[in-house]
């Protein structure tokens, strides 16, 4: 069944879009990532113009993240205090990121920079997570192994200490603010919610428990992507509400399923799967940069002035 999208100006299969939304929704619920780094390239493949794909996927992420967040709220795995601190840093960061993005665009090659930063960040984050969680899995299997005691990082010596009850942490507010800030910058440059960077940062830099990390990341993502959706709607008018609704319909259902699946899995298994997914996308992008493209020319249409 075909549907003509009013803003994208293309005719696409309804079930294809529902399926794409559902797939990304499952990942969103399982791992607490918004899925922006997956849905946007998938929409390109479905023939949606890039500008519309980027803008509309942020709107879709709001819906699937909100649906998943409600699931986490019921199970009390959201650290609101931590989320608010991260968000405060994140909003400042995305404003900074927009400035950087426009500065880069004026110098050309912004596409290349976005792709390169994807490859570098996805590769580093994915690799680190995979090694760490494989180690954790091996240790957990060994009989008599004691759980590792929480390390005392340098971050614990900073001032402005706050109590994050849900995470069971008593640390300075400065590291979460900085994490939020740098993720915000990345999110604005790369056009994603930033969950795939945020989740590992919360686990490894802030020492938060994995179960709490996902809900808290979702909490922050909703606000960042809502902010981005508004920016796109007002400045470029590229949010396609019909496309968003189809992706949402698939996505919200998928997110609920994902939350259930995630709750039944061990934290280490969850992290290995996320690491493999992140590395897969990274490899795909890296191949695109290295292999000779079949068509050396590329067309970008702009409305006639």
């Amino acid at each position: 069944m075909q549907l003509y999208l009013p803003i994208a100006e293309v005719s696409v299969n309804i079930f294809l879009l529902l399926g794409l939304g559902g797939l990304v929704g499952v990942l969103s619920g399982m791992f607490g990532v918004g899925g922006g780094f997956l849905i946007t390239p998938l929409l390109f493949l479905a023939g949606i113009p890039p500008a519309v794909a980027v803008a509309t996927s942020t709107n879709q992420i709001v819906a699937s993240s909100f649906s998943a967040l409600l699931g986490h709220l019921r199970r009390r795995t959201v650290d609101m205090t931590m989320g608010s601190v991260l968000l405060a840093g994140g909003l400042v960061g995305s404003a900074l990121g927009m400035v950087v993005f426009n500065w880069l665009r004026a110098r050309g090659q912004v596409d290349l920079l976005v792709e390169l930063s994807y490859v570098i960040f996805l590769g580093t984050v994915g690799g680190m997570m995979l090694i760490e969680s494989l180690n954790a899995l091996v240790k957990a299997r060994r009989p008599g192994a004691r759980p590792k005691r929480r390390k005392h990082y340098w971050v614990h010596a900073l001032p402005l200490k706050m109590k994050f009850r849900v995470s069971g942490l008593y640390i300075s507010a400065i590291p979460p603010l900085l994490v939020g800030l740098s993720v915000g910058v990345l999110a604005a440059i790369m056009g994603v919610g930033g969950g795939f960077v945020m989740v590992p940062a919360m686990i490894y830099l802030l020492g938060m428990p994995t179960k709490v990390v996902i809900g808290t990341s979702l909490f922050q993502i909703i606000f960042v992507t809502a902010f981005t959706t508004m920016l796109h709607a007002v400045t470029n008018q590229t949010v396609d509400i019909a496309l968003a609704l189809l992706l949402i319909a698939g996505g919200v259902v998928g997110a609920q399923l994902g939350t259930r699946i995630g709750a039944r899995m061990k934290a280490e298994q969850l992290r290995i799967l996320l690491a493999l997914l992140v590395l897969g996308v990274c490899g795909q992008l890296a191949l695109g940069l290295i292999l000779r493209p079949s068509e050396l020319y590329e067309i970008q249409s702009v409305a006639a002035s």
Partner: protein, 253 residues
């Protein structure tokens, strides 16, 4: 008396100043409505050749060319190059006025029915139709060729030689399948009559492609009330997220 006779003669010969062979055109539809379920459309372009006198003897056969051009856009064509092991966008050319859709249908191979000078003057063939919009020729030829090649592969630029049927040098018709991902706007339709490569008459009309109903409403809404549209998108997203969550919670109980 003589004056009256001259007047009568003048009235009786209205075609004296007009061309010997003229196009009379019909379209199966001159409006295409894009609805939510739009998945392409077929337009029949047909017409007749009106003559005051029988066609010239021993002349080359009459040929017909039909072109349909979508709204003009600016296309930026970039060439990728390998630098330091990765493929990057090297040089870019802005091509002004490249139509979003362009189809040429003819009765016989285009090179046989239209001379190069006439093509230069009237911009009929695909590559000329793009270049006609004021692009300088030097250094851009490869980029223009790439644009045509890619768009031909996407079937939005078409050369359909032999797709126009011509009966007894009088009645002609062709059908045009418009793609599903059609850009709204005015589609300029031109018909040329040629003999020995020279154009002897031409006719131009417009097929209007418009969004209707909810498609149009949403499109206008997103342009005119952008902030409100953005808020509506977000509200729908939040509501859908909440509804799905509530539905699943209820289903589990």
């Amino acid at each position: 008396m003589i004056r009256l006779m001259l007047l009568l003669i003048a009235l009786a010969l209205p075609g004296q100043t007009a061309r010997a062979e003229e196009i009379v055109l019909g379209l199966s539809r001159d409006q295409v409505a894009i609805t939510a379920t739009f998945d392409g459309s077929e337009i029949l372009i047909f017409g007749a050749v009106r003559r005051e006198a029988p066609p010239p003897v021993n002349a080359d056969p009459l040929e017909v060319i039909v072109t349909v051009a979508g709204p003009a856009e600016t296309a930026i064509v970039r060439l990728k190059e390998r630098r330091a092991g990765i493929w990057v966008n090297a040089d870019a050319v802005r091509i002004e006025g490249a139509p979003s859709f362009y189809a040429v249908a003819t009765t016989a191979p285009l090179g046989d029915v239209l001379s190069i000078t006439e093509d230069l003057r009237l911009a009929v063939s695909i590559s000329r139709a793009i270049r006609a919009a004021g692009n300088r020729d030097f250094d851009t030829a490869d980029h223009v060729a790439a644009l045509v090649r890619i768009r031909k592969a996407q079937d939005v630029y078409r050369l359909q030689e032999g797709a126009v049927d011509l009966d007894r040098e009088t009645l002609f018709r062709t059908s045009l399948a418009l793609p599903a991902d059609l850009v709204a706007g005015n589609y300029t339709t031109r018909i040329f009559l040629t003999r020995s490569g020279a154009v002897i008459d031409s006719y131009e009309t417009v097929i209007g492609v418009r969004k209707v109903g909810i498609e149009r409403w949403l499109y206008d809404f997103s342009k005119e009330q952008a902030a409100l549209y953005g808020l509506l998108s977000l509200a729908l997203a939040i509501m859908a997220g909440w509804a799905a969550s509530a539905a699943f919670a209820g289903w589990r109980r």
